[in-house]
Amino acid sequence: QGRIHQIEYAMEAVKQGSATVGLKSKSHAILVALKRASSELAAHQKKIIPIDDHIGVSIAGLTADARLLSNFMRSECLNSRYAYDSPLPVSRLVSAVGNKSQIPTQRYGRRPFGVGLLVAGYDDQGPHIYQTCPSANYYDCKAMAIGARSQSARTYVEKHLDKFLECSLDELIKHGLRALRETLPQEVELTTKNCSLGIVGKDMEFTIYDDDDVQKYLAMIEGEERSRAAPPADQAAMDTQEGEGQQPADPQPADPAVEEQGMEH
């Protein structure tokens, strides 16, 4: 049917990773990510990776593949700075990633990279959000969310899209956190442990906020009503089943959501 299944499988890996959202205003581009811990004992997996002073990425999917791609991106950025004494335009970096990702989709014995990236960057043309796929496609986005249950985040972002351009940075972050919150199952909240924030802008180098640094922003959206409020106690038991496979579509409000465990984060 003209489908390359290996690529579709790789894109599945991205959909299984935990959610991450990217949005931009006139002056800044931000990434918010939900960090997942593989067990109670493990630390929450880092989702946002700095690439250069003006670019950062957040990942969804196979962390190992993400590491490879981000190393490559760092190398490209550094080489460009060394040769041309100026930051690499984000569009050029993303197309370099696309070209690199295409090779294993066509070469014998190789497999596509099982990771999707949200690239946030700032260059002479302003702030950018790009999405990259294992299929080697890349998309210039006004805002985007990828990962598990990201459709809810995309819906939120689409609803509020017109506000983003003129937003202040704090407002933009609040929107990002709210969008991320949409992807959470009931009873799970954004905490300083599971939430990560990355910001880049006109006079701001790419900065990552983790743990306590996020608290300030979480406080801004505390107490706000969620569209998917926690159900009464008798339903709570259904939420904690793990390892039983995931519902293919995003669950409707009040349906229990099941967390997927594994190497994807």
Binding site: Y82, A83, Y84, D85, S86, P89, S91, R92, D124, Q125
Partner: protein, 259 residues
């Protein structure tokens, strides 16, 4: 080496009468004849002399005469030694003309490739300057220099930029730049003019350049009284060609001692 140390026959491989004895531990040296055709530029063939660069209010001027010297012979008298790169950058070249032609084709191809990308980014004077520095320094480090001095100029973020890159990878930027004999003769003139009036107009700058090119024609024995000028402003790059200065040789008869 094994043979000399391990064996007990010390009388083998001794010096031959009339031949150059290869002492133990000698390094093989290859002579030019063994290499074959020269693979590296050891001396320039057709050369260009000085290039001048001057910043004015809102842009830069780069000037170079149109002579290609074949040693002491003024052989090619209509060579262009300034080149437009794009709407924000231009370069002027002194030194070996063939190496310039090579660099020119490389730069032109890169500009084309960038146009094909069509993504709104183009080489800025500083990025061009930085890239060329890397290339020239790399070549010198491999003992295979491009025997040139490049003057890179343009407008970046509204500010004029002028840079100098040597065949040995020396690179710097300054509001006034001169290569070759220009560094000795014209640079002081350009510096005085710039320090007196950093925001001079295009007309004043052109006048100053003409004055310097005139002095160079009087004093540099490998120069020509016909030159070109590349002017870069926020409105783009243009090349004015040819310009001939008015010279005055009235005092010539007073100079004695060089007959």
């Amino acid at each position: 080496m094994e043979a000399t140390f391990g064996s007990t026959e010390f009388w083998r491989n001794g010096p031959q009468p009339g031949a150059l004895y290869k002492f133990p531990g000698h390094v093989n040296t290859t002579q030019a004849s063994q290499i074959g055709a020269a693979k590296r530029t050891l001396a320039p063939t057709v050369t260009g002399t000085s290039v001048l660069g001057l910043c004015f209010d809102g842009g830069v001027i780069i000037a170079a005469d149109m002579l290609g010297s074949y040693g002491a012979l003024a052989r090619y008298r209509n060579l262009s030694r300034v080149m437009k790169v794009n709407d924000s950058a231009a370069i002027g070249i002194s030194g070996d003309y063939a190496d310039y032609q090579f660099m020119k084709s490389v730069i032109e191809q890169r500009v084309i490739d960038e146009e094909c990308l069509n993504d709104g980014f183009q080489y800025t004077p500083k990025s061009l300057f930085s890239w060329m520095t890397r290339v020239l320094y790399n070549r010198r480090s491999n003992f295979n220099p491009l025997w040139n001095t490049f003057i890179v100029g343009g407008v970046q973020d509204g500010e004029p930029f002028l840079g100098y890159i040597d065949k040995i990878g020396v690179a710097y930027n300054d509001p006034t730049i001169a290569s070759g004999y220009g560094a000795y003769i014209a640079a002081p003139l350009l510096r005085d003019a710039f320090e007196a009036n950093p925001k001079m107009s295009l007309a004043e700058a052109e006048k100053k350049i003409d004055e310097c090119m005139k002095v160079l024609y009087y004093r540099d024995a490998r120069s020509l009284n016909k030159y070109e000028v590349a002017i870069v402003t926020k409105d783009g790059t243009m090349i004015k060609s040819p310009i001939v200065s008015e010279t005055n040789w009235e005092v010539a008869h007073m100079i004695k001692g060089y007959e």
